[in-house]
Symmetry: C2
Subunit: 429 residues, 2 copies
């Protein structure tokens, strides 16, 4: 089983920051993230993920007032974390829509050097007009075009990482030769969206190519992942749907000409852990009660890209207009809205707590059982753990759930390799 | 006196990497840069600079074969160095032409948080077609347009850094308020080249604004610096010209409505240190002899943006066609070419050794005397030290020249403040 820790700043639950032990001044403090990364490494996690976004969501006052809209910048933060960790992988979320591939090839390559082969990038295509407007555009790219650009982007990254042969550098002090020009090649890439000459001004990274993670769950996102992803960060709500997604992913990978199994599927999981089931449920309710109603409705409005504040909160979700924003989580809401008894309030409470991901409430043993069931029944290759609050929620998982998984023989007792590719069982390209 | 250390990878002299003690495998190794940053901090330097470029110079085979064209990425590297240093400032070279200000505001802001107020950016406008072609353009922007864009860029950085009021974050666990929306403002900047909505998704950095360094020495560059720079990294060759530049800089700063003295002028200085004058000169010749003739001519061709290999090497520099590349160092060559006896060979040897900067060859005492003379005669506020080879050349300077400067009362014995603004005597905006 593979495990990732999703470092969504003070915690993945919308009210996580209000828990008594959460040091809110940690939001911009290196030692807070150092603690989290060290905790994940103590738990033998494959990697830590750092989420990102390229703007402030200021559409709804309640979101700006009641949630953490600040996003510590991942490439700089993970580079600093590379210094204080030895084994855990370091994944940066990167928008392919609002970045230039030459910059990203360099920064990810450098993170791979700084960490001796532990770098990964979590590709997203971005989906809000606020982000577009921070980069000189009035509206964001259409959904299909975003993924076309993303394909070009990843093609370019790989060509740039390969533009210096592994043997290009010689540093021969006697002859004065630094590098063999014949082993350094421009790439002359000309696509529909991106053109890059190359070569990269950096030798080939330790992993050859840093690990590629893909987090989109729309049809375009899944197809893109099947072609390029080493890891998929998926959103699943039930064993049956996860099994269907997992089987379909293997089929798509095969259709893309790749070997089944080379793409690891890791759904998000938000664990609420108690010493007893009752304690866990009480903790869950306490967190839920800390979410202001105005925030829950605003948050849901944001995910479905339609202001729901004018509709009765205990009524059904209305018909929604077409949208060009993020598809995956919107579709999850639309699916759930069809279930009996679903109201704006119930959907809002679900979404704001989990951000669409699976929430499992129980003892360390029942959570480990749940994970074992999914893992051994072809629903996934592991999980991305979304601790509800930091650092305590991640420490609880590492100290209580990880030993249960190790005891069942499902998870490593110790790292056997050095690079993130080693942890994931992926060859160096 | 203020001191910066210019970390041009294995050394600032073109043949520095060939010195016996230079660990060439250090080029991509964190510990190599850690050693350099720790050495600069041991020497109480104000800051370390990391140079950068956004492409490989592959016009001349000799440059690709005989020089280090690799550029470790500064923002990631300096973020890692922030963890292992406590006081020294950390300056990243950033192209305003091929970056988006929203990304740079975040990354520099984050470096400022990671380092507790030690971040700086060294703005350059980039000047080669190879760089343009790595970012989807066929040719680089015209010289004047590059500086117009740079002005918009810096305006946007400052507005973004100010978009969260110092008091915007409250993290009130009782009321559930994270931030006060009234203290977070979009910037709605619309310029000729750049449009950015804002706000930044990060609170105000520890320094308010990270320190701005400007390295261009053309007329456009000097005018830009007078408006925005906290530090100017200049290129000077003689006391008289440095004094003229320094006086003109104060005049321009005043004309720009700023207080004279708020902009620190720090020319580059490449020290070749020996226990005796003879030893220093012999070291200087040894370095010079390690530069292949083909490299020297190619390097000069590159700086003047005209292939000189077809001209007699012991003849005069020919008339050069107009160019749209980097102006500053080209002009220095044109000025030197008018001196009696100047040949392509003599100009090439000068340029390849110093990259246009002042080279001072002597004992620690004579080098300190030289620096004292410039500093006390209104030629500069300090120097950027370009050690010819790393790490030994920087360690020599710190161990031998810095004590001479301290002994004369010209340089600090200990840091008195914590932030880079403290070191430079600049207020928090």
């Amino acid at each position: 089983m593979h495990l990732g820790a999703f470092l969504f700043n003070l915690g993945n639950h919308a009210a996580g920051w209000r828990m008594p032990d959460v040091p809110t001044e940690g939001l911009m403090a290196f030692d807070f993230y150092r603690n989290l990364a060290e905790t994940a490494e103590r738990g033998k996690f494959d990697l830590v993920f750092h989420s990102d976004g390229l703007g402030i969501n200021d559409t709804y006052d309640a979101v700006l007032r009641h949630t953490v809209t600040i996003r510590p910048e991942p490439l700089t933060l993970l580079s600093a974390l590379a210094v204080v960790t030895q084994r855990v992988g370091l994944a940066a979320t990167i928008s392919t829509t609002y970045n230039e591939p030459y910059h990203i090839a360099r920064k990810l390559g450098m993170l791979d050097f700084l960490s001796n082969g532990r770098a990964a990038l979590n590709l997203v295509t971005s989906s809000t007009d606020q982000e577009a407007q921070n980069f000189g555009l009035s509206h964001h790219l259409a959904h299909g075009a975003r993924y076309e650009r993303a394909r070009e982007f990843i093609d370019i990254l790989r060509l740039l990482w390969d533009s210096w042969d592994d043997k290009a550098l010689s540093f021969d002090k006697v002859s004065g030769q630094v590098a063999d020009p014949a082993l350094i090649q421009a790439i002359h890439y000309k696509g529909k969206y991106l053109s890059v000459r190359g070569p990269l001004n950096m030798p080939r990274p330790p992993q050859g190519h840093p690990v590629i993670i893909q987090a989109g769950v729309s049809a375009d996102g899944q197809d893109f992942a099947a072609h390029v992803a080493d890891v998929v960060f998926s959103v699943e709500r039930s064993l049956a749907s996860a099994q269907a997604f997992y089987a379909a992913a293997q089929t798509r990978v095969t259709a893309a000409g790749r070997i089944p199994g080379v793409m690891k599927v890791m759904p998000g999981l938000l664990p609420i852990i108690g010493r007893t089931q009752e304690e866990a449920e009480s903790k869950d309710r306490a967190l839920q009660d800390l979410v202001p109603e105005s925030l829950a409705v605003s948050y849901l409005s944001d995910v479905v890209q339609h202001d729901l504040s004018r509709y009765p909160i205990d009524g059904q979700l209305p018909e929604l207009p077409e949208s060009n924003g993020e598809m995956g989580r919107r579709q999850i809401i639309l699916d759930q809205a069809r279930l009996p008894g679903a109201t704006i309030r119930s959907l809002a409470v679900q979404m704001v707590q989990n951000r669409g991901h699976l929430r499992v409430v129980g003892t360390a043993r029942t959570i480990a059982n749940f994970m074992a069931e999914w893992f051994t029944n072809n629903a996934c290759d592991g999980f991305n753990i979304l601790a509800p609050f930091h650092p305590g929620g991640l420490a609880e998982f590492v100290d209580e759930v990880v030993p249960e998984l190790q005891h069942r023989g499902l998870f490593r007792q110790e790292y056997s390799g050095r690079t993130l590719r080693d942890h994931l069982g992926l060859a160096r390209p």
